[in-house]
Structures are given as structure tokens and as C-alpha cells.
């Protein structure tokens, strides 16, 4: 696989996510425990960890949906909640099911676009890009999981942001869609954007990501490039299993 290690095209897009000692506790449970890492521009950073490791909580903390107990998450040097038109700086797909089933795909995106002063032409563009132009006026309630994923990705792209975060974007996608996402991620990163991609599909991750951040029990387990991991271990999957063996909370006996 060809690694695009070169510098991103200068001055086009640039984004960065920084986590500084980010901590979130729910009662006595620590969901995220003193987590610090940086998502660099121009790369796809894979975000890995067992179920319940705190990946989704971390994404929610970055987006200001949950308030951190201590520490902070910065997007382009600022707290997310202080951004005036956040969709122009950060695009996020957290949960493809988080749509009102009675609204059409076009209206769903237009509601989001309007809140950030993005015009209707851009809505049509991202619908085209996500391959949903033909069903734009259909209600989202009738969409399959794969179509909802495409809609969620279209929403993330609306503001043409420099930072993108995707939580399990390939779930429910057909092989065509999986390849589309892989190529989309790589081209977005090549434009200088910072991409944080959470997924459990190791083979997909090996094809898409340049850098890997692994968390377990809310703590940072490893931060490395895919090349480093695949040199040290037979495959990315082996690397993942070896590194997280101590922090699997929910799993069968091995």
C-alpha cells in the first residue's frame, strides 16, 4: 500500500484535535482516564479499543456533548463549544440512527446547514457525493442502515471542515460503500484534513489509517503509526489483540 507521507497541499485545509489529560467519570466509574493524544492534519488516525473502552465518550467530550470531569479537548486550539459555526471546522458522524424518521434526507441536511449558514447548494453537493441524490426527498425512516451511514457522512461533510470524526462509519455499508468510505477518508486526509476514525474492523483500518491510537479502560494504551505496528507484529489485528489483552472488559473466555 502506498503511504501518503508527503506534506498536505499548503494552505488549503488544516485541522487538529488535541486532548490534554481528558478525564470523564460517571459516579465512581472512570470512562476516560487522563487521556492525552493529538490527531494530526493530513492523516487518518485510527481510534481503536475494546467495547466500553471510552471511544464514543471521548468523541462526545471532543464535541462538547458531555462535559469533561477534568482536562480538556481542543479543536484547532479551541474548545468545541466556543466555535461559532462549528460545522465549518468539524464534521462528525457519531450515530447514524440519530435522525428524525419523518424528515426527508434533504430537509434533515438543510436543517443542519441552515444552523451554520451553509447554503442549499452545498446540501445537494454532499447528497450527490454520498450517492443519495436519488432518495433526497424520501423520508429517512425508510432508509437502511447503510443509507443512514451515507446520510451521516454527508452531514459531516456539509461544512467542508478541516477536522472530521467518524464513529464506526462502515457499519451496514455494502462493499461498494466500504470502498467509497476508504477512498473518501484517504482523499480527505490528502487534502490536509485531520481525520479521526473509530472502527473495529482491523482489515479496513489497516487499509485506511496512517496512525493508530489504542485505548483500553479509558486510558491510552498505544499511539503509533500503522507501519510501526505491522513491523513489530504479524498484522494490525495481532498488534491490537496483544496491546489490549489487559484491558478487555466485556469478552468471552480466551
Amino acid at each position: 500500500m502506498v503511504r501518503r507521507a508527503g506534506d498536505p497541499p499548503p494552505g488549503i485545509l488544516y485541522g487538529v484535535i488535541e486532548l490534554h489529560h481528558l478525564t470523564k467519570s460517571y459516579g465512581s466509574t472512570l470512562a476516560v482516564d487522563d487521556l492525552s493524544f493529538k490527531v494530526e492534519p493530513g492523516h487518518v488516525t485510527g481510534f481503536l479499543g475494546p467495547n466500553g473502552a471510552g471511544k464514543s465518550t471521548t468523541l462526545r467530550l471532543i464535541l462538547g456533548l458531555d462535559a469533561p470531569t477534568s482536562g480538556q479537548a481542543l479543536v484547532n486550539g479551541r474548545r468545541y463549544t466556543s466555535l461559532r459555526r462549528p460545522m465549518r471546522e468539524v464534521g462528525a458522524l457519531l450515530d447514524a440512527g440519530a435522525v428524525h424518521g419523518g424528515r426527508s434526507a434533504y430537509d434533515h441536511l438543510l436543517c443542519l446547514a441552515r444552523s451554520n449558514d451553509i447554503g442549499p447548494r452545498r446540501v445537494s453537493e454532499v447528497l450527490d457525493q454520498a450517492g443519495l441524490a436519488g432518495v433526497a426527498r424520501k423520508r429517512v425512516g425508510g432508509f437502511s442502515l447503510g443509507m443512514r451511514q451515507r446520510l451521516g457522512i454527508a452531514a459531516a461533510l456539509l461544512g467542508d471542515p478541516g477536522v472530521l470524526m467518524f464513529d464506526e462509519p462502515v457499519n451496514g455499508l455494502d462493499p461498494d460503500g466500504v470502498r467509497w468510505i476508504r477512498e473518501l477518508m484517504r482523499s480527505l486526509a490528502a487534502q490536509g484534513r485531520a481525520i479521526l476514525l473509530s472502527s473495529h474492523l482491523m482489515s479496513e483500518m489497516a487499509l485506511t489509517a496512517d496512525r493508530i491510537v489504542i485505548v483500553g479502560c479509558g486510558r491510552l494504551v498505544a499511539e503509533a503509526t500503522v507501519t510501526e505496528l505491522t513491523t513489530r507484529y504479524p498484522s494490525l489485528e495481532d498488534a491490537y489483540l496483544a496491546l489490549t489483552s489487559g484491558s478487555v472488559q466485556y469478552g468471552g473466555a480466551r
Binding site: R60, A67, T81, P86, M87, D95, H100, G102, C111, A113
Partner: protein, 254 residues
């Protein structure tokens, strides 16, 4: 702020539940016609009747329907998870709730007054010169009651929105609104006098006659509040509920 209001306006407009709620709210027009035709027939037999005015008799239906509209404006977002998508697009939670309040407030204010005045006009037209009791006062004398009724429906819609933000469940918020509108006044009546009138005088539905300087009911007699105080209390209901809803929205993780 303009962008957020425009987004919220499209949200309200792009789901069918809004139109269902408005259609139910408009039923008093139809029911008012049926009622007036019926009592006009009675008056033909007996010479005169003392019938209730349809815009007052069917007011609870209008109030409940618009309260449901207010509740759904926010709880439908919690039910579908869209609230997270909304808060990622608009991380300033106060701005989001304020925009929703503005859109819900204006929509229900206009809808309530149009429905009430149309109900008033059609019933008086049908009544003609018959002695029905409710059609003997002049329009100028009825205007305070009509405006107070419309304002009460708007207030209830905003109370519904505030309770929705606080409770987050559609069923829970609707039950609370219904309790405020029907259950509490029902209990107040059976308190030992003079407490029945003292408590009833402060309850939301009973503020309408007090603003129009009319008695609460034959059983409770006159309320204790002068019109300006009743009006202030009617405005305080949504303001206090929305403030509590805002505090909950601000403090809690989404």
C-alpha cells in the same frame, strides 16, 4: 442566532407531527359550528337557551394540542437521538432552546388566535339573532377573553417545550402538561373553602377568566388576581419552566 432560528423553523415545518397537532388544534372551529347549529336548533324550540361559547368550551382542546406541539419540538429530538446532532451543529445550548422557543411561541401564538377568532366569527354568524346566551355580548367585550385564551395556549406550548427539555420523554412531558391543565384544577376544586379558590386562582387555565375580569366558575366564584397580575403570572409560567428546562439542558450531558 438568525441561522439557528431559520434552522428550527425548517425543523418544525418539515415533520408531519406539527401539522397533526395544528389540525387537532383547529378542531374547535368544526366543533364550534356543530355546537352552534345544535344549540340554535334548541333555541328554535324553546325560544332561548344559555349555552357556553364554543371558543371557551373547546379551549382545552386547543391548549392541549398546542402544548403537544411544544413538547414534541424537543422530545422528538431526544426520542430519535437527533438532539446530539443538533447540539453538535449548535453547541450553544441556550441559543438552541431560545430559537426553539421563538419558533414554537410565534407559531402557536398565530395558530391559537386565528383558530379562536375564526371559531368566534363562524359561531356568531351561524347564531344570528337567536338567543343563545353566549352571543349577547358585543365583540369589543369579548376581545379580552379571546386574547387571554390565545395567550394561554401559547404559554402552554412554551411550558410544554420547557418541560420537554427537563423531562426529555414525550409521554412524561405530555402527562405533566395535562396535569397542569386538567388534574391540578380538578383537585383544587375539592379543597375545603376558601383554599379551593385561593389555589385555583393561581392555576394556569384559571388565569384566562381573571385576565378578562370574569369569574372562575359558578362553584369557585371570583379569582383573587386583578387582570395585570393574572397576565403577569400567565407569562411567568412559560418563563420559569423554560428557565428550568434551560438549566437542565445546560447542565446535563447530552
Amino acid at each position: 442566532m438568525k441561522a439557528v432560528v431559520s434552522s428550527e423553523w425548517l425543523k418544525l415545518r418539515s415533520v408531519t407531527s406539527t401539522y397533526h397537532a395544528l389540525a387537532t388544534a383547529a378542531l374547535p372551529i368544526v366543533l364550534g359550528i356543530v355546537w352552534t347549529v345544535y344549540v340554535t336548533g334548541l333555541a328554535d324550540e324553546r325560544g332561548s337557551v344559555r349555552a357556553a361559547a364554543p371558543e371557551q368550551g373547546f379551549l382545552p382542546l386547543l391548549q392541549t394540542s398546542l402544548a403537544v406541539l411544544g413538547v414534541l419540538a424537543i422530545t422528538s429530538e431526544y426520542a430519535t437521538g437527533t438532539i446530539r446532532t443538533s447540539l453538535v451543529a449548535v453547541p450553544k445550548r441556550g441559543a438552541l432552546l431560545l430559537a426553539k422557543s421563538g419558533v414554537v411561541g410565534l407559531t402557536t401564538f398565530l395558530a391559537a388566535h386565528v383558530i379562536l377568532f375564526v371559531t368566534y366569527a363562524t359561531s356568531r354568524l351561524i347564531a344570528g339573532d337567536h338567543h343563545l346566551g353566549f352571543n349577547e355580548a358585543s365583540f369589543a367585550d369579548e376581545v379580552p377573553m379571546l386574547l387571554a385564551s390565545g395567550l394561554s395556549a401559547t404559554a402552554l406550548a412554551l411550558v410544554g417545550l420547557g418541560l420537554g427539555a427537563l423531562i426529555r420523554s414525550t409521554a412524561g412531558a405530555i402527562v405533566s402538561v395535562v396535569a397542569l391543565l386538567f388534574v391540578l384544577p380538578g383537585i383544587a376544586i375539592y379543597l375545603p373553602p376558601p383554599w379551593n379558590t385561593r389555589v385555583a386562582t393561581l392555576l394556569l387555565p384559571n388565569l384566562v377568566p381573571q385576565i378578562a375580569e370574569e369569574r372562575l366558575s359558578s362553584r369557585l366564584g371570583d379569582g383573587f388576581l386583578p387582570p395585570w397580575a393574572a397576565l403577569t403570572l400567565l407569562l411567568a409560567y412559560p418563563l420559569v419552566t423554560l428557565a428550568i428546562g434551560y438549566y437542565a439542558l445546560k447542565r446535563r450531558d447530552a
